[in-house]
Each structure stands twice: as C-alpha cells, then as structure tokens.
C-alpha cells in the first residue's frame, strides 16, 4: 500500500506485557528494517512468542507501543494489521479444503475480489510454495510439510508488509526442516517481505536470519547479525545458547580498554578482549569465552605457535575423543580452568596425529578469539549438558 521507506518495518518501543503477576515481555525495544529476515531466539518461556503475538495484535502490550510500517498499532485490531502469521501448528481451518484455506484472506477483502482473480491468486500462491494442483485436497490429507506450505501460502497471499512465523518448523522432522529453512530464506529474498521468525533452535536462527535477537526472561540480550552474535556474544547466556562455547568462569580482575583479565576460582588469570559496556567493576562475575574450533590442540608440552604474550597456552590431558566425520571433538581437563572442549578439523584419514584419551596436550588460543563477558549466572536450560559447561576438574587430575 505505502510506497515510503518505512513500509515493512516493525518497531517495538519499550513494550511490556504482563499476564497477572508474570512479566512475559519486559521493556523490549527492537527495530526490524524493511525486507529483512529477523529471528527472535531464546529458550521456551523467554517471551519470544508473546512478543510476536504483540506484533500480530493477538495480545495488547501492558505498556509501550508497536509500529508496523511506521504506523502506530495501538488501536488497530489484528484483522486490520498489515502483518500475517504462520502458526506453530499451522492452525489451518479444518473444515475447508486447501484452496479455501489459502484464499481465506482474499474473501475478507471489501470491495470483493471477483472469482477469477481470486482463483488466479490462489493458484499463484500455491505455485509459490510448490503445491500446485493440491487445491482440492483436504488439509488433514496432507503431510506436516505440506500443511506447513499451505499455512505459508495462506499467510502470503495478500502480500502483507510483514510475515510473522511462530516456530513454524518445529513440528517437522530434521531433514524436512533443513529443506524448509532454505526454502523460507529463498522465499523471503524473492518476495522482499519482512520476515520475523520465532525459534528456540539456534542453528535455525543462524542459518536463516539477517539479524538475530537473543531473548531471555522477556528481555532482548543481544540483537545483531548472526556472525556477530556467534563471534561476540554479549554475555555467558548468549555465548552458551548459541553454538558450543568454553566458558571459564571467575571474577573480573582488571579492565583496560579492550582487554580484560578474569581470575578463575583455581587462581588462574586469563586475558581476553572485552567489548561489553557492562564490564567495569573489578570483582564482578565474568567469564572468558573461547569457541572450541578456535583452540589449537597439540600433543605434548610444546607450543605450536611459540611463546608469545598474544597467546594463551594451557596444559591439559585428553579425556575423550569423539569422531564427527569432518571434525574431531575432544574433551580435555586442565588443572587451571577445568573441562575444555576442542574441535579440530580432520585433514587426514585415520587417527594418525590425533591425540588419544590420556594424552598430555597443550591448548592454545590467540588473544583476539577469547572474549571476556559478563557472567549472568543461569545457563540456557535446554542446552546445558553437553555444551560448554565447565565442571570443576577432578581432584585426581591435579
């Protein structure tokens, strides 16, 4: 409808939503630029779906406001908002066939759209999601993936400014989910419609979105391009939730410009880059975060990079080695920092040159791949067990 530059933008201004005593969304500010693919990422119960429902108009904010295409949506009911939703379990109308489901939005328009035009647009929408010829089928005769496509076509048929997707792929099996991820991304680029995508799957968010907003307890912790979120997580929660991360927890000792030092409970001092503005007072909980694939593992006590102040080197012994095909994953115990996960690319066949459980190894990483970030305590509940947690080293390891 609108041709100006703000069409398709979503702006959330200090939105808060309370249900009784529970604050589901807590003072969120977020701007989604037109034509981009944004992901709201977080564990279940973090408020991401509620935030989406505020944008769709199914809930109204307790405080704050929502703007779509630059227009305030305060008094605009969901049936007048230029945003359409793809629901988690599709919510297809069970008493209508595919065609009537897809054409539903067209039938609501006044003045009425004539039959042949409706037909043309329904066929076009079905072609778009590769379901041409399925119009007369009944929704319950379709597979999960096909129902998903019907839901997409139904939401896209009137070309909304914004498409809201509420965990639309969560009910699909892994293979289909990957295929749909690619397809969604392509569709978004082809149509140029703003997509806001809610998910608890960090891989999904990373692979599709232009920007990722990581949420926890109703707040956005970090909002940035996926590479940035991965490389420069804002705090330990984001670091742990997105990908696999070694977190060496302790307290902040010093902060000088872009570098900071953390002291672990074992007394080890670790140096890393510090970008966070929340990292100022010595003694506050902080952690050094290093990605497993950034750590260089070498056998024995020699250092691969040679002695240098720009490199941290730790001695450790390997506990487990896991074969992952193109990579090898190690769990190593260091007397200084505890459990460390290392990911090594496999360059040769067989196990030659790989460390084995029990081997003494040296772990090294450059200063610029290690980040000192605020320690927010609680971990991502769904994650946890196998990822980046550092249980204190066994006493026998010393």
């Amino acid at each position: 409808m609108m041709a100006d530059g703000s069409s398709g933008s979503v702006e959330i201004r200090d939105a808060t939503k309370r249900f009784g005593g529970v604050t589901a969304v807590d003072g969120v500010c977020l701007t989604v630029r037109p034509g981009t693919f944004s992901a709201l990422l977080g564990p279940s119960g973090c408020g991401k779906t509620t935030l989406l429902r505020l944008v769709a108009g199914f809930e109204s904010p307790t405080r704050g406001s929502i703007l779509i295409g630059g227009e305030p949506m305060d008094d605009v009911p969901s049936y007048r908002r230029p945003a359409n939703t793809v629901f988690q379990h599709y919510a297809l109308f069970p008493h209508m066939d595919v065609e009537r489901n897809v054409g539903y939005a067209l039938r609501q328009q006044r003045p009425r759209i004539d039959r042949s035009e409706q037909r043309r647009r329904i066929d076009e929408a079905l072609e778009l999601v590769q379901l041409g010829g399925y119009g007369k089928r009944h929704a319950r005769e379709l597979s999960g993936g096909q129902q998903q496509r019907v839901a997409l076509a139904r939401a896209l048929i009137s070309r909304p400014q914004v498409l809201l997707l509420d965990e639309p792929l969560s009910a699909l099996d892994a293979k289909l989910r990957h295929a749909m991820q690619l397809e969604l991304k392509q569709l978004q680029q082809q149509l140029g419609i703003t997509f806001v995508f809610v998910t608890h799957d960090q891989q999904e968010a990373m692979s599709m979105a232009d920007r990722v907003a990581v949420m926890r307890d109703g707040r956005i912790l970090q909002e940035a391009p996926p590479e940035h979120v991965y490389d420069f997580p804002a705090d330990t929660f984001v670091a742990d939730f997105v990908g696999t991360m070694n977190l060496f927890r302790g307290r902040l000792v010093t902060r000088e410009g872009d570098t900071a030092t953390v002291q672990t409970p074992a007394g080890t001092k670790l140096v890393g880059c510090a970008l966070s503005h929340d990292l100022l007072s010595p003694g506050q909980p902080a952690a050094l975060a290093v990605r497993p694939e950034r750590i260089v593992l070498s056998l024995g006590a020699e250092r691969a990079a040679g002695p240098s102040s720009a490199v941290t080197a730790l001695r450790a012994h390997v506990r487990t080695r896991t074969f992952l095909g193109d990579q090898v994953s190690y769990q190593a115990d260091s007397p200084d920092v505890g459990r460390v996960t290392v990911l090594q690319a496999r360059t040769a066949a067989g196990t030659d040159g790989l460390a084995a459980p029990g081997d003494q190894v040296t772990l090294e990483w450059a200063l610029d791949v290690a980040h000192v970030i605020p320690d927010t305590g609680k971990e991502a509940a769904e994650h946890g067990a196998d990822v980046g947690l550092n249980p204190p080293p066994k006493e026998s390891g010393r």
């Binding site: 769709a56 049936y79 629901f87």
Partner: protein, 279 residues
C-alpha cells in the same frame, strides 16, 4: 474373578433393560391382556396413533420439545461462546450454576420453577391489570411456562456440550481468521460456528429428547398443557392397557434414535472436524 465380574455386569444390564424389553415385547402382543402373549400384531400401535388424545398430546410434546430445544440451542451456544472472555470469577460461578442445573433432582427443579413462574406471572399480572385495566390478559401456567422450564435444563445441556467442544478446539484457528483480516463477527460465522456445528446440533437433539421425555418438570409447570408422558401417566391410572405399551414403545424408539444421532454427530463428526492441524 473375571467371569464373576462379567456375570455381575450382565446382571446389571438385565436388571436395567428387562422391564423395558417387557414393555416393547408386549406392545406387539395380539391379545387384549397385558399378562399373556398370544401372537404378533401391530393393532395396538394402530389404535394408539388413531387415538385423538394421544395424537394431540404427541403434537404438544413435539411443539414444546422443538421450541425449547431451539431456545436452548441459541442461549446455550451464545453462553458458551461468551464465557471464555468473561472474567474468571464470573466464569467459575456460571460453570457451577450450569452444572447445578443438570444435577439438581427433577422434582426440586420442577417445584422451584413452579414457584418462580407463579410468582413472576402474578407480579406481571398485577402490573398488566394496573397499566391496562380493560385487558383481561392474564399470564399463567401453560404451554409457555412449560417451554420456559424445559429451556432452563436444555440451555445447560447445550452450554456444556458446546463448551466441551470449544475447549478441545484449536483456538488458534480463531486467531488465524482474525489474522487473515476477518472481523470478529465474520470469524464467528465462517470459522467458530461451522466448527462447533456438530456440538450445537448434538446439544439441540439432547435438549429435544430431554423435553420430549420429561415428566417431572412438565408435571409441575404445564398448567393445562398435556404432553405425551403426562397423558401416559394419566391413562395408567385407568389401568395399564396394551395401548399404553405401544405408546411408550413409540416414545422409546424416538428417544433412542435422537440420542444415537446426537452421539454419532458429537463424537464421530465432531472429533474429526475439529482436530488440530497435526496429522
């Protein structure tokens, strides 16, 4: 132990259904006497359905049942639709009241409705007499009060059935409709009501059956209106004739048919159509 239980179950069913079976079997009896079987005949059915009193009572019953079931259908559906958006406390109170209407013994409901209707009509009558002294319109017990009384119970039935269906429905289809530009009233017409139709229809049939069968509430609130159960009761006092058997059996056949249709509609069609979008 298993066989013992099964035997016990069979005994319970026998106890429940033998009296009914006796009535049905004897309704086809050729003989004049209720006590002895002499052969198969439909003569008592012919006699029953050519009896002007029975036909008239049947017509009254059908009219009352259709009217009260229709009223119940509208009121019950509206109540069920409105409830989810009502404040919690109001909703709780309403739920309790609706359930109470179903479990209160018929005789209590009958007496309280009688007292209420008599009080209400007296009060209204005094106003009519005061406002329009020339009119000799006087409200009292009769067809209308009977319909009103049956509608109370029927509304509770429909409300509960529709609420059950609504609760098991994927409410996101209603949100989806709003999301796809349908204003609230159109969502009700194109999504909510079609999905609730089986429950509404089943509720209508149950309310109809209840009203058609009911003796106790009708006994108190009917005034001079005579329904089929009331007629049967009156004629039994003159002795059990085979005509009574035939009439009762006809009533039974109708009731069972209605209930069976209601059950099929509510359980089979209903659950199929409102299933969530997951295969």
């Amino acid at each position: 132990m298993d066989r013992l239980l099964r035997g016990y179950g069979a005994a319970v069913y026998l106890f429940l259904f033998v009296p009914i079976a006796v009535v049905v079997v004897f309704s086809f009896n050729a003989g004049e006497h209720v006590a002895e079987l002499t052969g198969f005949s439909l003569r008592w059915y012919v006699e029953a359905w050519t009896n002007p009193f029975i036909v008239e009572a049947f017509r009254t019953s059908i009219t009352v049942a259709l009217t009260s079931a229709t009223i119940s259908m509208f009121l019950g559906t509206a109540a069920a639709l409105a409830m989810p958006s009502a404040p919690r406390r109001l909703r709780r109170t309403f739920d309790v009241m609706v359930n109470t209407a179903l479990v209160v013994p018929g005789i209590v409901l009958g007496i309280s409705l009688l007292i209420f209707i008599v009080t209400a009509t007296n009060w209204l009558n005094s106003w009519i007499a005061y406002l329009v002294p020339s009119s000799d319109l006087r409200l009292g017990l009769g067809f209308a009060s009977l319909v009103a009384a049956h509608s109370v119970f029927g509304t509770a039935l429909v409300t509960i059935l529709v609420r059950t269906r609504l609760a098991s429905m994927d409410l996101r289809v209603i949100e989806a409709s709003a999301d796809l530009y349908a204003p609230p009233l159109r969502t009700v017409c194109t999504v909510t009501l079609p999905l609730l139709a089986p429950a509404i229809f089943a509720g209508f049939l149950l309310a109809f059956t209840f009203s058609f069968d009911d003796f106790i509430i009708a006994f108190f609130t009917r005034g001079r209106a005579e329904t089929l159960p009331i007629y049967l009761f009156a004629s039994i006092r003159r002795g059990v004739s085979p005509v009574v058997n035939a009439t009762a059996s006809s009533l039974l056949a109708m009731t069972v048919t209605c209930l069976a249709v209601a059950a099929v509609v509510f359980w089979r069609r209903g659950s199929n159509r409102t299933e969530k979008g997951i295969p």
